[in-house]
Symmetry: D2
Amino acid sequence: MSNTFGDRFRLTTYGESHGLAVGGIIDGCPSKLALNMEAIRADLARRRNGAARQEEDAIEWLSGIKDGITIGTPIAFCIRNKNIRSEDYDALVDAFRPGYADYSYQQKYGIRDHRGGGRASARETVARVVAGAIAKQVIAPVEIHAEVSELGPEAENDTRGGIVSCRITGLPVGVGAPVFGKLNAQLAQAMMTIPSAIGFEMGCGFEAARMKGSEYIDRWNNCLNASMPDCLSKDAPNQTIKQSNNQAITKTNHCGGIQGGISNGMPVEFRVAFHPVVTLPQPVECLTESGELRTLIIGGRHDRSHVLRTPVIVEAMTALCLINNLL
Amino acid sequence: MSNTFGDRFRLTTYGESHGLAVGGIIDGCPSKLALNMEAIRADLARRRNGAARQEEDAIEWLSGIKDGITIGTPIAFCIRNKNIRSEDYDALVDAFRPGYADYSYQQKYGIRDHRGGGRASARETVARVVAGAIAKQVIAPVEIHAEVSELGPEAENDTRGGIVSCRITGLPVGVGAPVFGKLNAQLAQAMMTIPSAIGFEMGCGFEAARMKGSEYIDRWNNCLNASMPDCLSKDAPNQTIKQSNNQAITKTNHCGGIQGGISNGMPVEFRVAFHPVVTLPQPVECLTESGELRTLIIGGRHDRSHVLRTPVIVEAMTALCLINNLL
Amino acid sequence: MSNTFGDRFRLTTYGESHGLAVGGIIDGCPSKLALNMEAIRADLARRRNGAARQEEDAIEWLSGIKDGITIGTPIAFCIRNKNIRSEDYDALVDAFRPGYADYSYQQKYGIRDHRGGGRASARETVARVVAGAIAKQVIAPVEIHAEVSELGPEAENDTRGGIVSCRITGLPVGVGAPVFGKLNAQLAQAMMTIPSAIGFEMGCGFEAARMKGSEYIDRWNNCLNASMPDCLSKDAPNQTIKQSNNQAITKTNHCGGIQGGISNGMPVEFRVAFHPVVTLPQPVECLTESGELRTLIIGGRHDRSHVLRTPVIVEAMTALCLINNLL
Amino acid sequence: MSNTFGDRFRLTTYGESHGLAVGGIIDGCPSKLALNMEAIRADLARRRNGAARQEEDAIEWLSGIKDGITIGTPIAFCIRNKNIRSEDYDALVDAFRPGYADYSYQQKYGIRDHRGGGRASARETVARVVAGAIAKQVIAPVEIHAEVSELGPEAENDTRGGIVSCRITGLPVGVGAPVFGKLNAQLAQAMMTIPSAIGFEMGCGFEAARMKGSEYIDRWNNCLNASMPDCLSKDAPNQTIKQSNNQAITKTNHCGGIQGGISNGMPVEFRVAFHPVVTLPQPVECLTESGELRTLIIGGRHDRSHVLRTPVIVEAMTALCLINNLL
């Protein structure tokens, strides 16, 4: 079902933007983990950063934790929606905003919660950030760092998209699986589930299509000059190859650290493109249920540069992806 | 597990490049389908097009079909590897080619079939093309068309990548699911499982990150001027909206036909970037199991412009993706 | 993961007996269903019937429902544990009760919530009953009826088990699947997940092993004498065969209504054996973490005839099983 | 889908009784396992034991094995159906045998392979026995032993059922999972997928429903008198507790070695009831597609005491169940 991510560390989320709460259940978190609550709050703060709608995002832990320690049972959590102004959306009861999921949801389900985008709102990513923050703690010392590497044009009365770059370090060689379970394919899926994601590329990505093979290919470093046990551990499959910068196993990393769907010990690097927020701070024509166009100024509070809030979501989905390969 | 794709129409594949055979099992194909064997053969021929290694690709159907009709039980099929020249790979017994999955497989499994790339070879896509060709027959009249839209630079003694564009027409509105089951996320995963795929984008993709919101947004057509029942069927969720070209529900299709992870009735459009084949027709340095570099001329038969053979694989994976949403 | 049941109508549950709450998320409930809340409350009351610990079982609906109507998004619900007397369990901090899951949980997770059995408590079945009550509403007019057909011996200062019989009527022919997806196998799994279930049998079950083939076999009725469209619908696979009692398709129902794992249109009938509650109203020897035996009178409130409360749980699990085959 | 069992060691099977072949794909078998082919052949011989239809059951290994060693890729195998006498079934083209799956398959799929029961034939268990024999090798030193413990009445011109008992020794404590993933529930499902299985019980099973709690409860042994490290390993969750017979952790094993769905270190014990083969060596009335009864002597070759051939299938399904918990 579409509201569950992962199989071993399985996150199931729930909640509409203007419903009572958003939250989730994590099934498969290892027991005896002392949760770093401060780290979870810090990631939630990164997600809120600059948001038009300000929520406290206080987490109520309903199960799975005793005295701050995980006990191996499902971790259920709940975050109340408090700062709701549903009346902002009254004009949308029978009108579909352009660019949003209003229309496709209505067609699929025959009913929808029109307030704040309902389930399609990026509000649901709160649950992902909570679960991702826990996953990061489990998979340490693997580190994930995402940041905005390109921001779309600033424009008066307009919105902007951008590109987020992500880099995973400390990942063991041998993570991922052949054919349909390729780690790059898992990451692509994970990233494209983020609201407004519209493109994904590993390593040098689309640019690779324009390179000659002899330019693209990542050549081996001479490992004899490096410390061999760190460079090549033929007797210990699945073990981390620890490499200092000048001991990297390949001279370049055009492939983004994954070969044949399986990590090769280099940093895993990818980029995610986000289109601009589709609610413009201008009057727009909405399609009504009766099929006519109606010009509206969309209410609600919407970010103009939401991309600034997405790196922590990219990190969360990366962490959820990795933990399901590492447990 | 990584060798299975889909849940309702489930393909499980097997086979190494130089093993006895490649093939698969399809579980969930509807019964009473009269298979168009000619269409399957035609897709296999598109995949073989220009290949350095020529295989007959004769399919042996082991189960699930009686008198040419599917009976609802698993369809197992087998394609023998006949044109094998394993001796070409003798020098690779203890050496990892650059750019290939030799090294990451060895690290993951502690053992590998070095002949022709083993399981990591694109030879395994034969099974995908067979299953995709069957899936296309089931989901008709939905149509999938992929083609090379950009080819990397031609260069002497070198290889080239390229970009494949794919367009789905006739897809009903309402296909896909919210949050983690977004159709675009499913397609991204499916495409990135194809050997040498390195990037994926919906609609205008990475370019969208550089557009203003007011440029990007897909504006509604005035459906009152179109034939209404075709344009908006509020009483019949999940039904196709049939639209002639001048009745398209939006004026542009920058989003690629999917909103909130759910198809909106417009053509679904995406692009896949492929890096150049990594076996160069030049001497390259391989990494040996003992950690030294050894210059080799890689044997085996390898395509220089494999991208020309990928559209049918893109179509197959698209069909497998769609059928799992449509059944 | 072990806290999720089903794939199309997917219930994930959470909660420990003496934690903050128990509850779950239902993913895949059809949209536009007007929930009959009274029916849900009535099933919860059946589950509470005669329980030593009395809980109000008030349900807080966190998502997925708007104005009493399902909207197709995940239905999250939460039931607070209010009537908790955790001090009853203080003596069990370092002692494992005989017959309970205290020891196996401790060994598996290295930590446990000793209060009231934690996650292993039958308290978690509250979430199943809620989801089952919703599933019943979706699959109507299929009807499920379970009742205690045999009760173990009554004994002073002791507990008793028993056998619950369940009968499904109105189920279409063709439900279930071959080989590993047999409906009887699905039911067996579903029933054996109920706390204290220890046996399962279809139709005449273990007795069938002692019958001759000629006694066991269910012989066909002469359908020519019955109303044919009801009896045999060769042109409409998957459709219900509606049969009055004298039009039953077989003369007996020793197999319990399932052949080759697929329903045959007869009532589906099975029985579940429950062992006695393992907390005796007598002093028992517990095993301490240091490996010695300690005689304790187990605190907490425990039923002596819990079997009387299980039919509604059997019905719930049956409904969850069926809905995943019928959607 | 119904033709796949397991998630980590995943078996997908195919094949009809009178089709070209039966077989399967195993995905997830560990690499570097030297297969004991003789043990596989021995289990196949146990399955053939006394069968009316004699097949050679020669296995063709299509992938996943190199020089007799598994390489971590899918293991595909194929067993040709050679001893076919399909003409025996000509009279069944339009007639449904009583007790068999002919009718329910026809209703579900609208088409069927009437020859020898098609997919519903126990012929498909060949693939289970092959995979089970491999699984046994992986999970050693866990041992599984099944045997016929009760055989139905012998009768002239008739068939008989029986009961198979199975015992698992050497299983670590902590195997299985709470709530819906209980090991007993997994075993129940696995057993009920075997053709003609009609009942399942753990430990003392249905008899437990008739015991008093004080009789049923498995009391702890005094571990202080036993060698403690063997009896209780609180610091090493998930580790085997090795116990000689006089160090068993409980004095009785009424529960069958599983508490709260998780193994407790005692032998796991269960029983499976099989109904008699439903093809009688007597004339029987079949139901024709036009709804009339037609008396036929069922052709084909059928066992009268098939229960004698089932222990190895019970062992195979047990092994498949366990390996998915142990990997």
